[in-house]
Amino acid sequence: MSPPPAAQAAKQETSLSLPTPLPGGRSGLSPHLQRLEDEAIHILREVVAEFAKPVMLYSVGKDSSVMLHLARKAFFPARPPFPFLHIASGWDFRALIEHRDRMAAEYGLDLIVHTNEEAARSGINPFETETGEYSRLMLTEALKAALDAHGFDAAFGGGRRDEEKARAKERIFSHRAAGHVWDPRNQRPELWRLFNTRLAPGDTMRVFPLSNWTELDVWTYIQAEAIPIVPLYLAAERWVVERDGNLIAVDDERMRFLDGETTVKRQVRFRTLGCWPLTGAIKSAATDVGGVIAELLDSRLSERQGRLVDAALQASMERKKREGYF
């Protein structure tokens, strides 16, 4: 397949374009990003106005970082009027935890961290446990338990429709029956900006303010708004192991090597940040956000490709959603 001409044109514009002052727009966002921002802020406010106890899921990834930024904008000068929930698996990158705690302190966030301690104690780990089962216990079950324990009736997630085919039909307001069950055949139609937020007892809502964003939008927005992100998203020399065509970073001493495996130093970055033993790095020279955008415009690999969790199951997203994963 030859490189598509439009992508080439876009790339060319990246290197050539000069800052263009926008009429009336002080923030310098393109009309497209401005529209996405306005839409997301509208959704955030709608939830706060209509639900009793919302929470924002905060995975500390780039999408979460954008959501946190939008939440600070939407309720300014007030602080975001809801807590932030991080589902930590115990296998999170160290840099991610540091970033999380720094953000919480700097912005005065009400941060809740929840881990499936019982599963961790019983020896569930990303090396030995089957990947699907691991993510079900450490992510899906942990999330459901945390939502239930606090009685949250609405949870913001950073899911985007462009990530995967099963997400293309997801609603912005995704209704979950008791037990967090997602029924793809029984979702409410979404018309105009008029979201049906009504819940029966026991039901909850997952809400995706970034539904209409693409990965490129997320990155260009991070750049335009100078949003702080975990440095793992940018290329640096890192110790990795090559395994089944993936580059696995060695983030701490719990790494389990297979026979014949050695660590090598490579200049890599991560496109997504899951549990470190299950997240593949990609070789990259992008040491700043501009570099990531340039590589993205050039890239023909879609985002979740680096995630072993997804490779484990065909059409896995739909199954995981039914179980209550985002």
Binding site: M1, P4, P5, A6, A7, A10, E13, T14, L18, P19, T20, L22, R26, G28, S30, P31, H32, Q34, D38, R45, E46, A49, K73, F75, F76, P77, A95, E98, H99, K165, A168, K169, P184, Q187, P189, L191, W192, L194, N196, R198, N212, T214, D217, T220, I222, Q223, A226, I227, P228, I229, P231, A236, D288, G290, S299, R300, L301, S302, Q305, E318
Partner: protein, 626 residues
């Protein structure tokens, strides 16, 4: 390397002027719609390689074309649908060029089409109608054009696909173009651009094709990149539905919301549409510093120059060009629920940021989308489009949908299943003097009630003639008065001497009788009174409508029950006797039906209770509510 990177604000911002277009694609199953979207995405921005690998694999398993890649498979997301070879919902796709980012709402062309198309169309600015060049316009093309027009899309691309299969014939293309122009004339589109193309081969999709030298227009992608669609919202008068009141401390009071239409600037005079209070915009507050002005689409926070009473659901508007403020209006509905619409049913109506109880009070007709004719109807089933009358429990601010797609749109939510039952588009207010705007009230219903030290309530006694309503109502009022309450008795027979003297006893007359008494009861409640209504009110729909006029929990429907034989035996007003002698007709319980309450707050079996005992039960219930 630092632990946290704040990337520097880049001075050479890429894609800094990129705009956005959201569009809808519609066509029949075999028109090649999915292939066209796949082709557009591929030619515009390139498919990710892992998706191509997955597609190659899927094409072998599920593909319906002989091509190496079945582009259509890209668009079918969910496992079950893929196995059945159909898409059953709206799917959203994304692609972009250097000039524009696109959001494509893809909707299926088979059953459920109306519901799904309406959903996709509600947020689209343009629609691509796909036609097979060999078949020309078919029923579905007309249907889709009609729905798209109803939903307010004003920009159309008629994509005449499979032009390669008619040997790139100009004559065939012109014939289809002309046929569509003739059909679409009454649909009020602002622009219709017809393009001959082949989704499978790529002709005129991303690039102008050499094989249609007679075609002078743009390729599809070029048109999508340049068409201007966002002028309407910018030119309409200011509408700002207040979404959430931001009060971080005692000092600051900001009204957040999205500018639905027009433009708001610091110093502008604005009116709170519902109350009629006017003030001015003091500041437009944002995280990045105050703004001088904000156009349609911006989500902002306003502060006002005066302390006015504004809550979520209020609409701030241009005082010179105000929205209608009314309870009754005509609307078009797209019915989306499996349970059909019937007159009298109560819903929650969400319009802008306001949610109020409302009743579909009348169904006038349905639109036959094939002929664009309106046919009289008394119900609406799934996927039907109909003209109805809506009666909201409270005054709401709105515009007609053709003038404003944001403030003229609403949804109806079923109160028991909580499903979204209908998409609605306001046609017009049904209240007289809709240009006479309400004066700001200084004394409010809440204030009147407070002054009387009670919570207003309507106690509505319904039942057959002779069941004991009037007797019980009189005792109830005496007892409440003895307890120091301020009351009013509304007896059906007495009201028919004056206010309702012009009404007959047929079904229409009875409905109107009940409607008027309901309105009077509402006025009494606004005055802060507890009113006791004694009225046969035989039909559930009429009683439900009366209840909808009042806030939740302020209407007690009480069923005064007695067997018809007993009523006839009592016959306190001699009505049964007169009816038997043929002096009167239409007596409820004898000649006309009576519908017992479906969910009464209380049932009084007067065959077993004395009037005194029955009244005690009513008073007991009333005291719990006031």
């Amino acid at each position: 390397m630092p632990d946290t990177l704040a990337p520097p604000a880049n001075d050479a911002l890429p894609l800094a002027t990129r705009s956005e277009l959201r569009f809808l694609t519609c066509g029949s199953v075999d028109d090649g719609k999915s292939t066209l979207i796949g082709r557009l995405i591929n030619d515009a921005s390139g498919l990710p390689e892992d998706q191509i690998a997955s597609l190659r694999d899927d094409s072998r398993r599920f593909g319906t074309t002989e091509d190496e890649f079945d582009f259509a498979l890209l668009l079918d997301g969910l496992e079950a649908e893929r196995e059945q070879g159909i898409t059953i919902d709206v799917a959203y796709r994304f692609f972009s060029t250097a000039r524009r980012a696109f959001v494509v709402a893809d909707t299926p062309g088979h059953q459920q089409y109306t519901r799904n198309m309406a959903t996709g169309a509600s947020n689209a600015e343009l629609a691509i109608l796909l036609v097979d060049a060999r078949k020309g316009l078919v029923e579905q093309t007309r249907r889709h054009a009609a729905i798209v027009s109803l939903l307010g899309i004003r920009h159309i691309v008629l994509a005449v696909n499979k032009i390669d299969l008619v040997q790139f014939s100009e004559a065939r293309f012109r014939e289809i173009e002309a046929a569509f122009a003739a059909f679409a004339e009454p649909l009020a589109f602002h622009s219709v651009v017809s393009i001959p193309l082949s989704a499978r081969l790529g002709d005129n999709v991303a690039r102008r094709s050499d094989r249609t030298p007679w075609y002078a227009g743009p390729a599809l992608l070029g048109h999508l990149e340049t068409v201007e669609t966002d002028l309407d919202a910018a030119e309409a008068p200011l509408r700002f539905p207040v979404q959430w009141v931001n009060r971080p401390d005692g000092e600051f009071r900001g009204y957040t919301g999205t500018v639905a239409s027009g433009r708001v600037a610091v110093g502008d005079r604005i009116v709170v549409a519902g109350s009629g209070r006017t003030t001015a915009v003091a500041r437009i507050v944002s995280f990045d510093g105050d703004l001088p002005a904000a156009p349609a689409g911006r989500s902002v926070t306003l502060t006002l120059a005066d302390e006015v009473d504004v809550i979520r659901g209020d609409v701030l508007a241009d005082p010179k060009r105000r929205p209608a403020v009314a309870r009754r209006f005509a609307a078009d509905l797209v019915w989306m629920d499996d349970v059909p619409a019937a007159p009298g049913k109560r819903f929650l109506l969400k319009i802008g940021t306001a949610t109020v109880p409302a009743t579909v009070s009348r169904i006038a007709d349905t639109l036959d989308v094939d002929t664009l004719r309106r046919v009289p109807a008394s119900g609406l089933s799934l996927n039907a489009i109909g003209r109805v009358e809506i009666e909201a429990a409270q005054h709401i601010a709105f515009d007609s949908y053709t003038e404003n797609r944001q403030t003229g749109a609403f949804i109806l939510i079923d109160r028991s299943t909580l499903r979204t039952a209908a998409a609605g588009m306001v046609v017009d207010s049904l209240e007289m003097g809709r240009d006479v705007h309400r004066h700001a009230e200084t004394v409010t219903p809440a204030l009147r009630a407070e002054h009387k030290a009670q919570r207003p309530l309507v106690v509505w006694l319904t039942g057959l003639p002779g069941s004991g309503k009037s007797t019980i109502a009189n005792i109830v009022e005496h007892k409440l008065m003895a307890l120091g309450r301020q009351t009013m008795l509304l007896d059906g027979d007495n009201l028919r001497q004056g206010l309702n003297a012009d009404l007959g006893f047929d079904e229409a007359g009875r409905s109107e009788n009940v409607r008027r008494v309901g309105e009077v009861a509402k006025l009494m409640a606004d005055a802060g009174l507890i009113s006791v209504v004694a009225l046969v009110s035989p039909f559930q729909a009429d009683r439900t409508r009366a209840a909808a006029l009042l806030p939740e929990g302020r209407f007690l429907e009480i069923f005064v029950e007695a067997p018809v034989e007993l009523c006839r035996q009592r016959d306190p007003k001699g009505l049964y006797e007169k009816a038997d002698r043929g002096k009167i007709s239409n007596l409820t319980g004898r000649d006309q039906r009576y519908e017992p309450p479906q969910d009464p707050a209380l049932v009084l079996h007067t065959a077993e209770l004395s009037a005194e005992e029955a009244a005690d039960r009513v008073v007991e219930l009333v005291l719990q509510r006031i």
